[in-house]
Amino acid sequence: MKRRVGIVGVGQTHHRSKNTDCNGQELISIAVKMALENAELTMADIDAIVIGNMDHFESINYVDMWSVDGSGGYMKPIMKVTTGGTTGSAIGHAGFYHAASGLFDTVLVIGWEQNSESDTTAAISTCFDPITEREYSAGAIGPLAAHYIAYMSKYAATEEDAALVSVRDHNNAALYNPYAHLRQTIAVEDVMRSAYISYPIKLLDMCPRTDGACAVIFASEKKARKITERPAWILGVGDCHILVHLADGIGLANLPSLEIAAREAYEMAGITDPFNQIDVAELYIPASTAGVSWMEALGLCEEGGGPRLIRSGVTNMGGKLPINPSGGVLATNPIGATGLLRIGEAALQVMGKAEKKQVEGAKVAVATGFGGCFWSDVTVLSSLPGLD
């Protein structure tokens, strides 16, 4: 990497099901102000802005232009990036490239969504091909369900394994994250007794849809060092947006895009033994089932080892590799912000600013994004500018 880039500030709103006390621009403004405060900067310090959401959730065209009243983008360079569910991680990576290019020193990245303004599943369904796929496709839940059916039959995983992930993430949100949307302490029996929405996925296995925003400030090395003693350095980025036709892809028990994106990001970061080198992970797990089946794609266990990893408890708080101390996507899902929240939460961990969520001594963190048609983005962050 020619130029190092670090995260110097993170902000987010209090996430909830329906935000009734302010409009979208104001929601954005809350996250931006908090990120600026977190970095001890003002809007005058920001050289460029990247923003992202999914158009049809709010039905506002050219959100980059619309948002300037909330983003502080008046008379500044601003650009929109959007890639579906991976939008949050894609804008994080775009912010990284803004600073890594040398064109901008301090870059504000904003992800947001007011999902309550639309029918999320109906809006997602229009992503499918109008001729061959749309008639039988209904949002994101069905493909994820089919994916775990394939995984269970291939690797002897169970619905209870997925329930363990749901319990872990929901309880982390309830105990440690004041900003999370769903903050309830639950047990495996609660998950197992909740209603099926698409077998084997039950209500408590699935992420909510959320109103919320997140803002993260990226800075070039020189600026980052001036702003804070301990930035979260970006050591690696990888993105893989393979086109998957549902008719081809849903039989897959694994997630090739995550494997490829992780390989790229790990290679850039110098990670060869992810399970031992990574201290904490913030993963875009849209359904608890994926929290079992995608662990191997990240190199955290052997093929088919997801159930073993989850049952062992090492991914719980206090374990060797805590996953989603924030409660993750199962607790909070403002879609355009969701991937950026993973990067922001991972950054707070390695900056030592995660408060009650803090994993003690966390030096290396990984964040992921998921979306599109089984697309993945991976980011590796560290309190150190490079791994030895």
Binding site: K2, D55, I60, M65, V81, T82, A94, C127, D239, C373
Partner: protein, 378 residues
Amino acid sequence: MEKVGIIGVAQTKYQRYNPASHAESAYEVTSKSLEDAGLTIDDIDNTITVCNDFWDGRTISSMTITEATGSHKSPTTNVEGDGTYGALMGLMRLLSGLHEITLVVAQSKISEGIPSVITNAIFDPIYERMLGLDAINSAALQMRSYMSKYGVTEEQCAKVSVKNHKNAKANPYAHLAMDITVEDVLKSRVLADPIKLLDTSPISDGACAIIMARERTAKRKHGKPIWIKGVGHCADAYHLGDRDLAEVDALASAAKRAYKMAGIRSPLKQVHVAEVYDAFSYMELMWMEGLGLCGRGKAGAMVDSGLTEMGGALPINPSGGVLSAHAVQVAGLARIAETVLQLRGEAGDRQVDGASTALAHGIEGACGQGHCVFILGK
């Protein structure tokens, strides 16, 4: 800025209705730009698509062309905005040193949509959308405001339309190439006073792709790389009422940044050809002023003098511009592709002799709220 060269460009013919699907158009320009660069898809190590869910009529619209652009093989992201912003994202990826060759693809199939509905969605849903604002009637407010503040006339705007449609006759990709007179423009149907049909760009289906590479790779892979010398982008306020619509502050700021990077102090003298985003005839005049090619309110007189015509000191839109082919999202990228052809000396009948520095420009949002300016050179 480290040197990045453009080594491949391709466009489809722009037309009112192209039966090709989104993916087929994207595939056509991807293949042709690779051919133009003498590369194969295996040489591309990252891809930027430019898709917008409103114009494409579906969520995660980039899914429609990821396969056709070969992005299954390499990292891909999607910029939603004008094609110039996509090119800028591609440039940043190369400048980071993490990628060598970027493919940028934009496509548009507006024939499947209703532009007035899609552009109505640009406006605030509570305060403005119900007024029926869209791209055309908001531009009418801007044109009126510009004319009354600076004394520019409808005739002077009409001259831009006459010039650009005539230029389009030398551009095989153009959608509307025709000989018209100022009188034809003035007598054409009023769409939203003072904007008339012939002041307005058409609705075009089409696609464009460019391939850019870091210096060493660009030199090794291509005989005539065209170098990116400078770039700048900037956004004005959102609500039309918060802006003085006759002013061009955001463009001036974007241009200032691009000029500084490219070492341009006197743009009128140092730029030899410009392709600007003339979605409406008056816009070319306003953008000339924002780009510092003349003083405020002086663009009308500059057009009267013939300086911006083919053969003039600074030909603007030799391709016929956006007035002659307007594939939204694509149009700014097409401006870059056209200037690359100019600088290579491969612009055919629309070639500006001896051009060695060129300007390409894209806009974003209503009434040019956002601008992106590229300076390219041999």
